[in-house]
């Protein structure tokens, strides 16, 4: 277990250092997110009440779309550099590659949330600085990264990987999307709080199941 987690950490470190030095994915993800928020701001003229109601949905949609850019590259970068097979030969268990990629994608989503929330608050004149809301976004990001990393490992082996990833991933994210938006709305509009807990439960169950199942099937997915 210690070796497994240690190896995952080494791979996360490698991904973060690579990304920090190239800034390929971060730049495109962050600029896409900021541009989307600007476009929504000009396209939708909303009253303060409407703004509060759509805030969780809008932020989550921006994060999901921007995050897809990162997901697309998480395995494609390995494939393009031809280093994936090197990893397969060296790691103690192949599932550790999945775990590391999932953590890296989750950290990217974390960075995205930190960027998106203040910009939204500034543009829409509505404070979203609420730890509970941030926690919900992170729970959603966990489920998103868990499912997205697995689908990304499948689509990277196809020619149409950029197109296939969202087509396969978005239907799978339906429970996450609903849970994040509903529970986020409950916090921001201070309404329907009794339902809040059930959405959080759904998110937690989805995250755990998706992570465990993905860890179990990853080896079969990447092997021929």
């Amino acid at each position: 277990m210690k070796t497994w987690l240690g190896t995952a950490w080494v791979l996360v470190w490698k991904d973060l250092v690579q990304e920090w030095r190239s800034r390929d994915v971060l730049t495109s993800m962050f600029s896409f997110a900021v541009l989307s928020l600007f476009i929504f701001n000009y396209a939708l003229e909303l009253s303060p009440i409407d703004r509060a109601e759509i805030a969780p949905g809008l932020i989550w949609v921006v994060m999901v779309f921007a995050g897809t850019l990162g997901l697309n590259r998480s395995f494609a970068a390995e494939q393009d550099q031809g280093s994936f097979e090197g990893l397969m030969m060296a790691v103690p268990e192949l599932s550790v590659i999945y775990l590391a990629k999932m953590i890296t994608n989750l950290l990217m989503m974390f960075g995205l949330a930190i960027l998106v929330i203040p910009i939204y608050s500034l543009l829409y004149n509505q404070s979203l600085f609420d730890l509970r809301f941030f926690g919900i976004l992170m729970l959603g990001a966990w489920g998103y990264s868990a499912a997205g990393t697995l689908i990304s490992s499948m689509t990277v082996q196809t020619r149409m990987r950029d197109l296939l990833l969202p087509v396969l991933l978005f239907p799978l994210l339906l429970p996450v999307n609903m849970a994040v938006v509903k529970s986020g709305s409950a916090i921001i509009t201070v309404s329907a709080l009794p339902e809040f807990q059930s959405w959080i439960n759904l998110l937690l169950v989805y995250d755990v199941i998706m992570t465990v199942v993905s860890l179990m099937v990853f080896e079969y997915v990447i092997r021929e």
């Binding site: 190896t7 690579q18 097979e85 990893l87 060296a90 103690p92 021929e224």
Partner: protein, 243 residues
Amino acid sequence: MKFEAKQLCKSYGPQRVLLNLDLSLQSGEVVCLLGQNGAGKSTLIRLLSGLLKPTSGEITMDGMLADFSEAEVRRKIGLILHQTFLYEQLTGAENLQLYARLYGTKLAEGDLKQLMARVGLGKVRPVPVRSYSRGMKQRLTIARALLNNPQILLLDEPYTGLDQQGSAMLNQLLAEEQENQRIILVTTHELSFIRQVASRFAILHRGRIAESIPNANLSLDELQERYNAVVNYRAKVQVEAVS
């Protein structure tokens, strides 16, 4: 140690690449796998390293079926393919440190310098691999393959990108590893270089090892002649059979 492929078959859809191939490799042996383009040399290397699953047949290590889902089995193999397996944004030393950690070993500063020096990269500045030349990347790839002291070395076109000095360095390394009783399988078209260290030549033709030739001081011309004889004879036989 004995590393064997028994009745190995590999098909990609209707295309059959390897047909009941048998190959036996012993410790201290440098076997050069020869064959035309598309003969299946790279496919065989990928099968022997566990990166591909055979359609049928088996791969054994000391008579035991090789289970490539086990890290212990995979880590017995040092592999060079057409891709370098290197990370472009990391320096050469960082790449080696990374792979050492993945293999679960710690590479001390002295060992790292020694390994870099062994492949002729001892005096290279710590710059990202993306700024390396093709030859330098290949040297680093060789160092990466030797990193965990593997018992088996599977080298697909290892001379690619190397200059005369680099090729001589690789030959020197192969000779040293042979003395260390490693099993070494090399595919290459650089006959003039590999001839200096190979114990025998295995000619892969039409999915099988068509001939195994011991390297008993064969001259380059003799080797070329034997190779052409196998390839052309079998092609001729097939043409006659068809007609």
